[in-house]
Structure formats: C-alpha cells, structure tokens
C-alpha cells in the first residue's frame, strides 16, 4: 500500500528528528501527504503505528545482518562481514538506527512482550554459537557474547555519527579486530 508506506516513512523521519512526543500525527500526515484521518485507516493509534514501525525495522536489521554469509568461508571472515554488514546498514540508514535506539531505550519498549524483544538477538546468538562450537570463539555464554558484539557495533556507529571520530575503513577494521580479539578462543 503506497499511502501506508508514505506514513511509515514520514513517521520514521520525523520521530528520528523530533522524538516521539514532538511528532504530532498532523505533522506525520502533512509529510506523508495524506489527510490526518487516513493514518487511522492503516493504524489503530499513534502507539500502534510506532510499534509497527519498530517491528518493521527490527526485522529488517535481522535480515541484513547475515546477508552474504557463507558458511564455507573462514569463520573470522564471516564474523568480520556480519560486523561490517550492520555497520554499513546503520551508517547508510541513519534514521533507522537512531529510531531503533530511541525506541529500545525508552519505556515504550515494555509494550513489546519480553520474548519478542529478546528474539532480536536470536540470529546473532545462533551465529556466535556456531563459532563457539567450532572452537573459534571463547566457550562462554552465547547470549552474553552476542550482546557484547552487537553493543560494539552500536558503539562504533554512534561514535561515527557523533562526528567526533569519523570511521574510515582502517578505523573500522581496528574496531572489528578489537571485538574479535575479545571473543576469539
């Protein structure tokens, strides 16, 4: 649905820029070039619109993460690729990144059932688990390791976006190496 997409895109952009509460539905309507009432054909409420937007981008991230993963390659290369995938996606889709972080760190996150929100990390947990089983990675909790790896990616993206230290490739490789040294066997 074209209008639904327009609404979702306008919401993403505006919330990223202004925050949840500084983004009135009327402004979303204006930017999406639909009438205010139209939004309510596609979404039950502002709350539900935002939740759906989050679910959409959460799933998108999950699908991007393992793109191009090839189990025949050396695990270290695969690890480097996963890190790069997310870094590239987030830095090229700043709004998505900032929206996800804003959402995940606000109390509205609790509107999402615990299980569903835990599942965000599932693909990454599976991925590190493989590395653990094959002896490439430390034999520690996969849940913990996945969080640490993902957290490092987020840290690097934030540093990049802060403008304080833009990530050229060499620096990114350093960050990946640092992460790898932490988790490798």
């Amino acid at each position: 649905m074209d209008k639904k997409t327009a609404i979702l895109e306008a919401t993403l952009e505006l919330i990223t820029k202004n925050g949840f509460h500084a983004t009135p539905m009327s402004m979303v309507a204006q930017h999406a070039k639909v009438a205010a009432g139209t939004i309510y054909h596609y979404f039950d409420s502002k709350e539900q619109l935002i939740d759906e937007l989050y679910a959409l981008h959460r799933d998108k991230v999950a699908s991007v993460m393992l793109q191009g993963d090839d189990s025949s390659k050396p695990y270290k290369d695969r690890f480097r690729q996963v890190f790069s995938n997310l870094f590239a996606y987030y830095t090229q889709n700043t709004d998505q990144f900032l929206f996800i972080e804003q959402y995940a760190n606000s109390p509205i996150m609790n509107r999402i059932p615990r299980e569903e929100s835990a599942s965000f990390y599932q693909p990454l947990i599976e991925f590190v688990r493989k590395g653990i089983h094959t002896g490439q990675l430390k034999d520690i909790s996969a849940k913990l390791m996945a969080r640490l790896v993902y957290g490092n990616i987020v840290s690097v993206v934030k540093l990049h976006l802060s403008g304080d230290l833009p990530m050229e490739n060499a620096l990114l490789q350093t960050a990946i190496a640092t992460t790898w040294d932490g988790v490798r066997q």
Copy 2:
C-alpha cells in the same frame, strides 16, 4: 534545597517509568509533594529541568567510575575495577541508568552542545590513554577504545536488567575478561 531535590528525584523516577512526554509537570509536582508552580522557582522549564537532571547524573557517573582507582596497582586490576564500579552503580541505581540511556538516545540530546556531551567519555578516555602509553593496551584510538569499553558495560547491564541472563559474579568476570582481551596489547 530540599524541595529542589524532591523535584529532581520525582522527575527521575517518573521519567524512567513513563518516558519524557508521559510525565506531566503536574505529576512531578504531586510526587515531589510541591505545588505545580513551585517547580518553576527552581527550573525555567520542563526542558531545563530534564537537562539539569541529565547533567547531574552524567557527572555522578563520571565521579563513580574512577572511585577507588589507585595508580600504584597493576593496570589490569584497575581496568577491572572501573568496569565493576560502573556495573555496580548502574545495577544498584537502575533509574539513573535507564534515564541516562533514554536521554542519550533521544533527539533531545542535541540540546546539549556537542563538546559538553563528548566530555562524558573524557575520564574514561584519559584512563585508557594511560594503559596505551604504558603499553598495557593496544595502540589504537583512545576515543574508540573508551567507547567500546563503555559500550560493553552498558551491554552487560542491559542484559542483566532484561532478566534474560542475570549476572552473577562469574559471568561478570567473564564479561570483563572478554572486554580486556579485546583491548589489551
């Protein structure tokens, strides 16, 4: 000022629970047991109240971080202590942690001048810089390294608070070791 403190505490608690926009000034007044108008004797506006609250807790974190740091100890022990200090503070002061994260990940963060907000990491940057200079840590960007270390602490606290994997001490030591292995020379 007793009332000012009451207002700040009420604000912290309510924003942590409800979020910025779901926390009306009237509710803050009620919880702080002052009249609505009284808040405006101590703060110019809601915005300024929140900003001041953030500044307060940001500085508190900076002071907690290096508590008990003793430059005569082995650097690795000092590193372990910094990590533990923050972990302990955040898990024992959940509201502060959640408030800082909520604030730092929302667009209102931009209200704070870039420099000031970068300075949050300054003590940690100095700390890792020492490790680099003495050859204990990798010779890479201190800014990057500080972010990675702090990001790992945040990751561990969030995992703990999610209830998905409570951190007993052994697990915490694992997380510290993983971080250390990443940054050490």
Copy 3:
C-alpha cells in the same frame, strides 16, 4: 428496497442502544452490512435518516393504536383496547418505543414542523372526542385528554421496562381502570 430496510433497522437498534451521537454512520453501515457510501444513496444525511426513521415509527404507532377498533362495541371496551394495543405494541417492540421517546424528548424534535408533530396525537384526539360527544367521557379539552391518556400508557410501559414492577395482566387492568376513572363522565 432490501438495503434501505436493513439500514433503517440497524439505525433503530443502534440508536436505541447508544443514542444519536454515539451511533456513527460507519457503525450503521457495518450492522446493515452495506458500504458506508450506500447509505447516502437512500438518505441525504444522518439527520434525514433519523427523521425518516422517526416518521416511519410514528405512523406505525398511529396505525397500531386503533387496530381492531369496532364502533359497535361499548366505548369503554374500545378505550380499553386502544390502551392495550399501544401497551402491547410498545412492550413487544421495545426499540421502537425507546427510539420514539428519545427522539421526541430531544431538541432534534424541533426539526419537525410543529403541525406535523402535533398530528401524532390526532387519531387519539379523534377517538376521545367521540367518547366526549357520546357522553361517555368528561366534557373537557380533547387535546388535553388525549395527552393524559397517552401519557399514562407511556408511564406504564416505562415502569414495566424499568424492571421495577413488571406488568402482569391484573396490574395492566388496574392501570387502565385508573386512567378510565380519570376521564370518564
């Protein structure tokens, strides 16, 4: 027209239950199983739909009132029958009764020209007039008498519907007798 009837019936039911303003056209459409736009093929507006519904049931009541009236019977029996007719119709068609009362007691009643609305009582006025002329009823204003009689019927139906004192037959006969004693010569 089948759909038109469905719309009228849905409107009656919903307005009786929810009131005029708590009955959106979309809800009427849903219950009548037609599209929202379809209603506007049969009715000009919500206002006109409601007015037509009222006219419909007002006329229905007029036709029910004198059903089975036989001028060869004793007038007192005929009086009793008119009373019973309306009581029976209203208690067996609760929605119609409640809708008429709701409509007649709301300011929208003024949308109907005075004359037309006065004509609701016309058949009853004629009926009591006969009783007056033949000396069965008091020689007082027929308009007044008709209103008193109809008012008594309404009172009895409301008491019945309130559940506070269900009308079995004996009680109904008492009510009729009381009314009769008031108006008879």
Copy 4:
C-alpha cells in the same frame, strides 16, 4: 464555587437548546466565560459533568415537589398542591424540565445505577402511599400510581410548552381533577 456554577448553568442552557452531542465543551466554556481547561478542574469529563447536572436537578425537583405540604390539610388539597408545585416549577424552569426529560429518555440514563434512578419517584410514592393508607386513594400499587400521577404532570407541561394549548389556570385545574378522579378511592 462561582465558576463551577457558571459551567453548570451554561451546560444546562446549551444542552437544552442543542442536545448533548451538539454541545461542544468549547461552547460551554465560552458561555460560562472560562477557559476550556477550567471545566476539567471541576469535572472529570463531559459525561460526568452531564451526570452531575442531572443529579442536581433531579434532587431539586424532589425538594420542590413537597414544598408547602401540610399534613393537617385535607389530602385532596395536598394532592392538588403537589401537582401545582411541579407544574409551576417546570413551566417556570423550562430548561430544567427539558434537560431532565432529554436525559431520562436517552440511553445515557443507564449510566446511573438502577436504584438511584428509581429513587427519583420515592418521595411521590411515599406521598400517594399516605393517601392510600388513609383511604383517600385507590388501594393499588403505590409505584404504579406515583408514575401515573407524575406522568400526567409531564404530559400537561409538554402540552403547555408545545404551544398547542397553553394552560391557563382553569385548564390546569381540569387536568388536576382528571388525575384525581383516576386515583381517588
């Protein structure tokens, strides 16, 4: 409270003229010469405002009804007075009458607990009960009789207000006599 009274009066007037849903809160505010938000200091919601308005006038009616009742007078005179009291009050306070009728005949009436709403008739029931016990009135259900008497008053007021047959005193006496003849022993 001066403003509260102004709000109640404005609401009464406007609802009587326009109906519940055609009376926006902004219009109430305007007529009461207060800000829109001020209404919500005194009332929780539009619904509660209307309910309170109804309760207020319901109680007022109950207190007016028996005004000047003197148990040493002949019962018939007392009966005539009760009838006259209500007729006079309603015709001199048209808005109150129309509001009560509009409210009582709309589905919102169900917001009021059954018992409370039944109690509206209680004073009148007690009054007719006295007449029954002393043998002045028919020995029939007091509940039924009270409803019939009150219904007659309402009928007379409505006829008067319709403009179709203004009630001068002689006519009013006729109406009272008709009612009395119906209920007297």
